[in-house]
C-alpha cells in the first residue's frame, strides 16, 4: 500500500490508499477522486487523466515515455511536471506522492 494525495484545481485535497501495481489513474477512479476522466481507460489514448506531479516528487516519478509525451500534446495547460496518470504505476517508493489535477481535462 502507498498513500497518494490528489489536490484538485480549487485546492481541495484527498488522500487515498493505493494498491502497489495499480496506476495513479486507476487509484483515483476507484476512490471516486474527481478531476480525472480517463476516457480511454488507461490506454494512453485520450489525455484526460492529466496531472501535475508535485515538485518534490518529479524525480522519483520520472518523466513521460515518448508515447505519453505525444499524447500530452492533446492535454490542457501542459507544464514541465505534467504526466498522464494512467502511465504512472504505484510502487512502494511513491508512498506519499502528491499530484494536482488541472483546471480541466482535454
Amino acid at each position: 500500500m502507498a498513500k497518494i494525495t490528489y489536490i484538485d484545481a480549487s485546492g481541495e485535497s484527498r488522500t487515498v490508499e493505493a494498491e502497489v501495481g495499480a496506476t495513479v489513474m486507476e487509484t483515483a477512479i476507484r476512490h471516486d477522486v474527481p478531476g480525472i476522466e480517463a476516457e480511454c481507460g488507461g490506454a494512453c489514448s485520450c489525455a484526460t487523466c492529466h496531472v501535475y506531479v508535485d515538485a518534490a516528487w518529479t524525480e522519483t516519478v520520472g518523466g513521460p515515455e515518448p508515447m505519453e509525451e505525444d499524447m500530452l500534446d492533446f492535454a490542457y495547460d501542459v507544464r514541465p511536471t505534467s504526466r498522464l496518470s494512467c502511465q504512472i504505476k504505484v510502487t512502494p517508493a511513491l508512498d506519499g506522492l502528491v499530484v494536482t489535477t488541472p483546471d480541466r481535462q482535454a
Binding site: 480511454c40 490506454a43 489514448s45 500534446d73 492533446f74 495547460d77 501542459v78
Partner: protein
C-alpha cells in the same frame, strides 16, 4: 441532386462491428452500403489504438487494432460491400412505404429496407482546443479542417499542433498565406519526419514562424480573430497577431446526428432488445458500442454476437418470403460458395 441509391441495407459506421455486420448479412445474401465519417475503416480500433494489442478477441491471442481491421476487411471481401468514407449520415427518416431515407452531408441519398446503426461512441469529429470562448470564433476565424485553401490567401494563419495535419497544412498553406505561424507546445513533432524536415527548412529560410508554447486566449470581436495570447516556452505570455487559427488536436467521438432520429436514446445510447438488436423503430437495428440493453458490455466480442443475431432478423424483414436456414460455414457448400471457397 444525385440519384438515390436503392439498397437492402445501410450500415452507419465502419468500426469493427459495422464491418462484421457486412459478413453476417452477406452470408444471408444481403449486400450492404457502409458509411463512415472517417476516411478509412476500423472505427476506434484504427483511429484510437491502431498499434495497441487487443487480447480478448476469441481465437486471436493478440492482435492490434489495425491488424483486426485489416483481417475483418479480408474476411468480408467476398460480400462486396460498398463504402462511402468521409461522409456523415446526417438524416434518417422513415418513408411511407416502410423504408428508410438516409442522407449524408455530401448529398448522397440512400433508400433502404433496413438500417443498421453501428455508430460506436458516435462520429469522430475534431477535438476543440481547450481555450475559453473558442466557439465564438468557429466558422469565421477558427477552422478544424481546410476545405478551400483560397480562404487563407493573403492572410496571417496560426496553425496549432504537432501531428501530421498540423505539419501538412503548414507546408501547404505557406505559399498561399501571407504568413504561417506553427505553434506547438514542444520542439518535437509526432508528424512524419519528412514533413518535419521540410517545415524546419521553411523556418530556417524565414518563410514560416515556429512558436513553441500554448494558446491561452483569443482576441477579437464578432467571431473575427485579431490575435491570440500564448504562453511560450520562455514562460512569458506573448500576443501573436493572426487572422485565422487552425487547431489540430486530434479527433474525439461525438454522438452527432443520431440524437435526432427519434430512437428514444438513453444516456446517448440506443435501447434495443436482445433477440434482434432492433430499436424501438422496427427496421432500424443498433449494434456495437452504440446500443444499450441489460448487461451490455462495450466489447468487440459482444458487438460481433449482436451482428449475427441482427442479421437473422434483418434477413426476415428484407426477404419475408424466404426461409432462413441455419448453417455452418464449415460444412455448408452454399455458404462456402458465397465465401468464394467452394
Amino acid at each position: 441532386m444525385t440519384e438515390t441509391i436503392k439498397t437492402d441495407v445501410v450500415i452507419v459506421g465502419a468500426g469493427p462491428v459495422g464491418l462484421f455486420a457486412v459478413f453476417e448479412l452477406g452470408l444471408l445474401d444481403i449486400r450492404a452500403h457502409v458509411v463512415d465519417i472517417l476516411d478509412r475503416p476500423g472505427g476506434q480500433c484504427a483511429e484510437l489504438y491502431p498499434e495497441k494489442p487487443i487480447y480478448d478477441i476469441p481465437g486471436l491471442p493478440v492482435v492490434t487494432g489495425q491488424e483486426l481491421t485489416d483481417n475483418l476487411l479480408e474476411q468480408i471481401k467476398p460480400f462486396g460491400a460498398q463504402y462511402h468514407f468521409s461522409e456523415i449520415i446526417a438524416g434518417l427518416e422513415k418513408t411511407e412505404d416502410d423504408r428508410f431515407l438516409l442522407t449524408t452531408d455530401a448529398g448522397t441519398r440512400f433508400d433502404a429496407k433496413v438500417v443498421v446503426i453501428a455508430a460506436g461512441g458516435g462520429s469522430f469529429q475534431p477535438k476543440k482546443p481547450p481555450i475559453d470562448g473558442v466557439e465564438a470564433f468557429e466558422e469565421k476565424s477558427v477552422h478544424y479542417a481546410v476545405r478551400k485553401m483560397d480562404v487563407f490567401r493573403g492572410k496571417r494563419v496560426l496553425i496549432v499542433g504537432g501531428g501530421d495535419s498540423a505539419l501538412d497544412w503548414t507546408l501547404n498553406l505557406a505559399p498561399v498565406a501571407q504568413r504561417v505561424t506553427l505553434m506547438h507546445r514542444r520542439d518535437a513533432f509526432r508528424a512524419a519526419p519528412d514533413s518535419v524536415n521540410k517545415m524546419r527548412k521553411l523556418v530556417e529560410e524565414g518563410v514560416v514562424d515556429l512558436a513553441l508554447g500554448q494558446v491561452t486566449e483569443l482576441i477579437g470581436e464578432d467571431g473575427v480573430l485579431k490575435a491570440v495570447k500564448a504562453k511560450l516556452v520562455d514562460g512569458q505570455t506573448h500576443e501573436i497577431a493572426t487572422d485565422a487559427m487552425l487547431p489540430f488536436f486530434g479527433l474525439t467521438m461525438k454522438l452527432g446526428p443520431i440524437a435526432d432520429w427519434g430512437l428514444n436514446l438513453e444516456e446517448n445510447l440506443i435501447p434495443v432488445d436482445t433477440e434482434k438488436f432492433e430499436t424501438t423503430t422496427p427496421g432500424i437495428f443498433a449494434i456495437g458500442d452504440i446500443n444499450a440493453y441489460p448487461g451490455k458490455l462495450k466489447l468487440i466480442l459482444s458487438g460481433f454476437h449482436e451482428a449475427a443475431l441482427m442479421a437473422q432478423a434483418a434477413a426476415r424483414r428484407i426477404n419475408p418470403d424466404r426461409k432462413v436456414v441455419f448453417q455452418y460455414t464449415t460444412s455448408s457448400t452454399s455458404l462456402q460458395k458465397k465465401l468464394g471457397v467452394a
